[in-house]
Structures are given as C-alpha cells and as structure tokens.
C-alpha cells in the first residue's frame, strides 16, 4: 500500500469530526424550520380559539317586566316605548338608584336589544299585556365582558368600562341569580350590528353563500369546458400557447387586481348593483377559473390514452369519447380542484373591498342583487371595531370561517382518496 493512500484516508478521517458537526448543525436547522412553522400554526390557532370561544356564550339578564297597558297602545304596538318598560323594570329592581347620571349608568347594563325582544313578545302574543313576567334579555357587552373575566376589577375606575357602582349592581344581580351565560344563538342568526351583543354572522354567511353559488355555477362549467378544449381538442399552436400562458399568469395575478376589474367592468361599465353578491360572484368566478382549469387539465391528463383509443377504436366520435369515457374518469379530480377553488373564494376578501361589499349591512340579503357582505369581509370590519367584545366575535367568526374551510378541504381530500385511481 503506497504512502499516499494512507495519507488520503488519514486526511479524510481528520476532517470527519468537523464535517459531522456541520451535518448535525444543518439537520438541526432543518428541523428547527419545521418546528418554527408548526409552532406558529399552533400559536395562531390557539390565539384565535382562546380569544374566540367565549363568544359562543352570551350573558343574559333576567328582568321582571310589567307589560303596562298604559304604555302599550294596542293599535300601535310597533311604535310603543319598550325601552321605557325595560328602564322601569331596572329602576324597580334597584330602587336606591337616583339621579340622572346614575340612572343612565344603570340603563347601560342592558342591551338595546332588550326592547326588541319585548316588542317581539308583545306582537306575538298580545295577551301578555297587563301581566308581569320574568323575561331574560341580553345584557350589554360591558357586562358580558365582565362576566367572562375580560374586565380587570383591580384597575382604577377611570380606566375601566364599568364604574364601581355598576360593578356593585352586577354583583347583586349575580347573587340574585339574575345574570347567566347562555348559548349565543344571535351570533349565528343575526346580521351585523353596532352593538356587539346583537351582532351575528348570519348575514355575512348568506352573502358568502350567494356569492359561492354564482361562482360555482359559472366557474365549474366554463373551467371544465376550457380544460376539455385545451387537453382534448386544441392543436398546439400560438393561440393555445397564448391561452395557456394567460391561464398560468391569471393564477398568480394579485386578487385585488380582479377587484379593480370588477369595479371598472361590472359596476361602472355594465352598471350592475354595487355591494351585491352577484358582482362578488362574477369577480370570484374570474379569480377561481385558473385554479379549476389547471386542476381539470391535470385530471384529464391522468386518464390514460388507452381509454381514448379503445373508444375511438370502436367508432365513437372524438366528442363521444370525451363525454362518455374521459370526463367521468376525470370528474373526481375536477371536483376536487373546484372545491379547493371554492375554498379560496370563500376566504378571499381583497377584491370584495373594491366592489363595495364592505358596507355595514344589518339586513340578511334576500336576493343576488341585494347589498351584502361576506364572511371574511365581516371579519375585516369587526377587526376594526374598538370594543373588546368585537374582538371576541372576530375570533369566533374566524373560527366559523376556518370550520367551513376545513369542511370543504376535508371533502376535497376525501373525494380524492375515494376516487383517485392510479393507472
């Protein structure tokens, strides 16, 4: 064995320790990157859940209401002073309260939604006029926050939303069993409101649903048709190259640019109604088309040529081959892509800001052309509100949005696992 060879292996061995240290370092950095990403994911979800789960409950307050016939004019039940009933009941409960400002402080314990609740009761059953009932009404958001432990009693009075005297009243109510947390149904059934305790996501959810309906009805057929044409019929030439480059580029165009398109073309040129799910759906259609086309093309490519040859071989026309044999086999892949595209459309908000779906809308939209907002935009709007109770609701709305997304993507994954074939 020559001397040089011995020195080679010695040289190698001499460097080994250093190289293995570098190897270990590199491996740790890689692992660190993974752990960092996952940690962030965990923090994000934990923060949202921690902030939001309390919004699914809401503090209610029990009032003893005398439905005073003098205050309730049977001919004009809708315009009666229900607020007065609530205030009177509060005064009766706390007879020691006197003076204008103290009374005002007392009244703010109850949500303005209480009056509507009483109105609904009376309109539903005029028989209760003249009787005294125990009625549970929503408490104001500040009371709600205190009960949920989000207001610090040890802070100086001037820094708190609730005064000392209000705290005393609330404690008394709790002792009497007149304050309780209940499931927050309003959050799922109401539209937006300036009062956090009355605000819900139903209007936004319906707006999103209308929008997705339009998007689905338009983008799925057009997307599949485009993919079928490009994969099965088109000859490779300049034109199809151009279409292809266009599709790939559109998939990466910022979503806000689609919003500008919607504003200039659908609103200003075609004069479609502003803030409507119709326009939102059209913009989302253009935005999700590339996703669906790309997924559908991949699904078509995965159908083996032998199937086409078999059909063509027994005399089927090209169109018959595609419709009878290729499309059914590619459909699960296309549907998966469509659901993923729909998920993206559901979570998207930037283009909707451009076409005015960002307004404060209390009513639940009843048609495609009504003013509406969408779930992510509702989140955006609430995130801007200063009240702490809105922060809680924002997080809860995010949880609902994420739940929808998990549902959709889960369906897509199931569909893929169930129908995916390896050829």
């Amino acid at each position: 064995m020559s001397q040089q060879k011995i020195s080679t292996i010695e040289l190698v061995n001499k460097g080994l320790a250093k190289r293995y240290r570098a190897e270990k370092r590199f491996r740790l950095i890689g692992l660190g990157a993974i752990v960092l990403s996952l940690t962030f994911l965990a923090i994000l979800f934990a923060t949202i859940t921690f902030n939001g789960y309390t919004a699914f409950q809401q503090t209610w307050l029990e009032l003893t209401i005398f439905f005073d016939p003098q205050m309730l004019d049977a001919k004009n039940l809708r315009q009666a002073d229900y607020d007065g009933l609530v205030k009177k009941s509060l005064r009766d409960n706390f007879p020691e309260v006197s003076g204008r400002s103290q009374k005002k402080d007392l009244y703010t314990l109850v949500s303005s939604g209480a009056a509507y609740k009483l109105q609904d009761m009376v309109v539903a059953d005029t028989g209760i006029i003249g009787t005294t009932r125990q009625v549970w009404v929503p408490a104001s958001d500040d009371v709600d926050m205190l009960i949920k432990g989000n207001i610090d009693r040890s802070q100086p009075e001037s820094d708190r939303q609730l005064k000392d005297i209000q705290l005393a009243w609330i404690d008394q109510l709790v002792k009497e069993g007149r304050l309780a947390k209940r499931f927050n149904l309003a959050f799922f059934t109401a539209g937006d409101s300036r009062e956090p305790e009355l605000a819900g996501i139903f209007g936004a959810t319906i707006g999103s649903a209308y929008m997705l309906l339009i998007t689905l009805l338009l983008s799925f057929p057009v997307g599949v048709a485009t993919a079928v044409y490009l994969e099965e019929f088109a000859k490779r030439n300049r034109w199809t190259d151009l279409v292809e480059v266009n599709i790939n580029n559109l998939a990466a165009v910022p979503s806000i640019v689609f919003g500008l398109l919607g504003l200039a073309v659908f609103l200003n040129f075609f004069g479609l109604p502003r803030s409507s799910p119709l326009v939102g759906g059209l913009v989302m259609t253009l935005m999700t088309l590339p996703t669906i086309i790309i997924a559908s093309r991949i699904a078509l490519q995965s159908v083996p040529p032998s199937i086409r040859e078999a059909a063509l071989g027994i005399g089927a026309s090209k169109m018959q081959t595609v419709i009878h044999h290729v499309l059914p086999l590619a459909l699960p892949g296309m549907l998966t892509g469509t659901i993923i595209g729909m998920g993206r459309a559901l979570g998207e908000s930037a283009p909707l800001l451009m076409i005015g779906m960002v307004a404060f809308i209390v009513d639940i939209p009843g048609s495609l052309t009504d003013s509406a907002t969408a779930l992510p935009v509702q989140i955006y709007l609430w995130a801007d509100c200063p009240e702490q109770a809105f922060m809680e609701r924002t997080s809860a709305a995010i949880m609902v949005l994420l739940a929808f997304l998990v549902l959709m993507n889960g369906t897509a994954v199931l569909l893929r696992n169930r129908f995916e074939r390896r050829w």
């Binding site: 190897e23 990403s37 266009n246 640019v257 200039a264 479609l272």
Partner: protein
C-alpha cells in the same frame, strides 16, 4: 316579465324543442324504413333543435341584460332638465340613485322633487316597456328558431356532426375567457390610469418622492392638488415584501430540504399537510393576527428594549406575510428538489459526501433555477397581498429604510383610495388605477419570468 321568469321560459322552450326534434327524427326514421337510415341517433336531432331554439335567444338575452340598465339610465338622464344634467358625475350619480330608488318604490320619507318624481315615473315606464319588449322579442325569436330548426330535419342531416361542431365552438368560447379576463384587466386599469396621467404627468408619478393623495375639499386650500409620487409607496411595498422573503425563503427552503432529505416517512406524512394548512388560512385571518397580536407584541418588546417601534411597523406585516408564504416556498422547493434525479444524489454519496454536502453542493445548485422561479412567484404574491397590509401596515407614505417604522404599500393605497364614496374623475380615485396598472405590470413580469424559468427547469430533467 321578470328576467328570471324569462330565463325559465327560454329554457323550457328549448326542452320542448328537444322533445319535438327527437320525435320528428324518430318519425322520419320510421317513414324511410328503419332507424338505421337516419344519419345520427334521434337524440342528436333533438339536441340540435334545442340548440337552435335556445342559443340565439339566450345570447341576446345576456347581451340585453348587460346593456339594459345603462341604456335606460341614459334615456332617463336625457329627459332631465339641463341644470341637473350638467352636474358633475358624482352629483348626477346621486340623482340617478334617487330616481332608481323611487322607481323601485322605496322612498326615504319627505316629498320627492317633482322633477325627480317625473324621471322616476319615466324610468319605471322604461323598465316595464323594456321587460315587455324583451320578453316578447325573445319568446318569438326562440319559437321561430325552433320551427326553422324542425323544418331542417331530414334523415340525411348530419345532426351529430353539427351538434359536436357547435359544442366545440362553445368549448372554444369558454377557453377564450382567460384571454378576455386579461384583456378586461388591462383595459379597465389602463383607461383610468391614462386619465390619471392626463392630470398628473407620468414622470411625477414614477419618480416623485412624495405621496399624499388627500386632495382638499376646497380648491383654494393649500396643497389642494395632492402629491402623487409613487416612489415611497413602492419602497414600502418592497420593504414589506423583502421582510416577508427574509422569513419565508430560509424557513420554507429548509423545511422542504428537511422533509425531502432527512425526515422519515411518518414525519413527512404529518408535517407536510400541517404546514400546508398555513396556506389555506384566509389572509384576513393573518391580518387580524398581525394587527392584534404581533404588532402590539413587537411594539411592547421594542418599548422594553428602549427602541421606539411604530404600532403599525413594517416588521409586523412583513413577518406575518412571510409566515403566510412559507408553505408556498416549501411546496415549490419540495417539488423542485424531488425532481432532481436520484442518480445525482447517488453520485455524491458514492464519493463519501455527507447529506448536507450533497444538499448544499449538488442538490441546491441543480435545483437552483426551479427555486429561483418559485421565489419570484412568491415575491409576486407578496407584492400583491392585500389584507395583511391593509390591516397591519400604515397609511402614511414615508420614505424610510427602518422596518420598525410604519410604511404603506401599493395595495393599501388602492384600498384606501377606492373604498367608500368615490368621484370618478378626481385624481385621487384615478391614482388607484394607476397604482393597479403598475402592480399588474410588475406581477405580470415576475410571473411570466418565473413560469418560464420553472418550465425550462422541468424540461431539463424530463
């Protein structure tokens, strides 16, 4: 006749046409012996008749629907007295809105102006007339087309071929949607941007160092014209994007390397989909998180260390945007690294290289073009990202290199300029479209370059 009812009528007529066409084909077949004597199966004759009946009418219906309201508004405006017609666009828009509301029957109390009332009556009249005209024309048209279609049916008619040719034309029309969308984007931003450049010179926009689009209400106020120098806006965009890339590229790339080269099957099967969840989280959620959790945290941390940090610091927005982009970089790098042939790894290992030497000296250089393409796509995404910066970045356009200060971005400016009531000829509104045009051009350039690089890379190893 309401539009949806008309649509149902047209579709119903098509269904009838299908049925009639099919029946007639069967009858024709019987008359000339067997059904074999027909060129195509009866279904195709039915479909052909239905297409004859439905397609032209539906096409005209769509066109009518699109143009109707514009024409009606114009006709109504022409009846208005001169002093209303000469109002600026915004004022006129309000008047039109009033007229429409009144015509729809929703009044907001008070007694409407008689002129407006008359216009509303006229508008309602136009609506009714238009509805009748539309319903009548389209129904007659589709009936005529159906009869014509039926009369053409003969056993020799190549119905299948004609149906297939029509379907193919439909497919081609669908496939042009992508191009139409691009044209639509270009035209919509280009026209408004050109109007903007008539008011503000292009060079001022591109090279101006001051951005303050808030024009004064009264024209005689100081600084009423606003300043439209886009440099600070783009500098802010670049800073936030660069911060995002500083976070996303190392973490995403290292995650991909670890998953592709080090992790076992089980870790890979769990970690990869988990990280990809980050890509599915809506951007508004990131924005909320950045604005309510990360930005205050960074500000408090800065205060603790005695550094003044803006509560809308570029750092918070960039950090969160980076996290959003991690899965994007990761999947692209993963694809690209897996596309490097195994033989190159074998070659390196056979020489006694360790894993990290193989990764750093063989795999990464081999995968570099693909990774660069992926990073370019990610940059394009960061530049165009809206919600995170709208919620977490600032509004004031400062020209600074300090990531702890608040900066603004192109998308933030577009949103602020366009949300709320707009006047469509003030430079303030038009500036948004100019920014949009620039945004579109920059991302287009990035995307096309990136897609080209990635495609060339794929071809190299196929």
């Amino acid at each position: 006749m309401s539009s949806s009812l008309l649509l149902i009528v047209l579709l119903g007529l098509s269904a009838v046409a299908f049925h009639l066409g099919r029946r007639r084909a069967i009858a024709l077949g019987r008359a000339s012996g067997s059904s074999r004597s027909l060129h195509s199966r009866p279904v195709y004759y039915g479909t052909l008749t239905a297409l004859w009946c439905g397609l032209p009418a539906l096409f005209i219906f769509a066109l009518w629907q699109a143009l109707e309201s514009n024409i009606m508004v114009r006709l109504t405006i022409s009846t208005l007295p001169e002093q209303i017609r000469s109002l600026p666009a915004a004022g006129l828009g309000l008047v039109i809105n009033d007229i429409k509301n009144l015509a729809a029957g929703s009044s907001f109390g008070g007694i409407p102006d008689p002129v407006i009332e008359a216009a509303a009556d006229y508008y309602r009249h136009l609506q009714e007339l238009g509805g009748l005209l539309k319903g009548g024309t389209l129904t007659v048209l589709s009936l005529v087309a159906m009869v014509f279609g039926l009369s053409r049916l003969t056993p020799k008619l190549r119905a299948r071929n004609q149906v297939e040719a029509l379907v193919k034309v439909l497919l081609i029309i669908c496939s042009t949607m992508a191009i139409l969308t691009t044209i639509g984007i270009v035209l919509s931003v280009l026209f408004e941007a050109l109007r903007f450049f008539q008011k503000v010179p292009l060079t001022d926009f591109l090279f101006g160092l001051e951005w303050s689009p808030q024009t004064a209400i009264r024209t005689d106020q100081v600084g009423s014209s606003g300043a439209f120098g886009a440099v600070p806006v783009f500098a802010g965009t670049l800073m936030i994007s660069a911060l995002a890339m500083l976070v996303a590229v190392p973490i995403g790339l290292m995650s991909a390397i670890y998953l592709a080269e080090y992790a076992g099957k089980k870790v890979r099967a769990v970690a990869k989909p988990l990280i990809e969840i980050l890509a599915g989280v809506p951007t508004v959620v990131y924005g909320f998180f950045a604005a309510l959790v990360v930005a205050p945290f960074i500000r408090d941390l800065g205060a603790h260390l005695g550094i003044s940090v803006s509560s809308e610091s570029a750092l918070a927005a960039g950090l969160i945007m980076g996290i959003m982009i991690i899965p994007f970089i990761m999947s692209i790098s993963d694809d690209v690294i897996n596309a490097v042939p195994q033989t190159l790894r074998d070659g390196s290992y056979a020489l006694g290289a360790t894993k990290n030497e193989t990764v750093r000296r063989v795999l990464l250089p081999a995968a570099l073009p693909g990774i660069v393409g992926g990073v370019l796509l990610a940059v394009s995404r960061a530049i165009g990202e809206t919600m995170i910066v709208v919620m977490a970045a600032g509004l004031s356009a400062k020209l600074t290199a300090n990531p702890l200060q608040a900066v603004t971005t192109v998308t933030v400016q577009i949103v602020t300029l366009l949300v709320g009531d707009q006047e469509f000829d003030s430079p303030k509104t038009l500036a948004a479209f100019a920014l949009g045009l620039l945004l579109f051009l920059i991302t287009l350039l990035l995307n096309v370059t990136a897609l080209y690089i990635v495609r060339k890379y794929r071809e190299q190893y196929e």
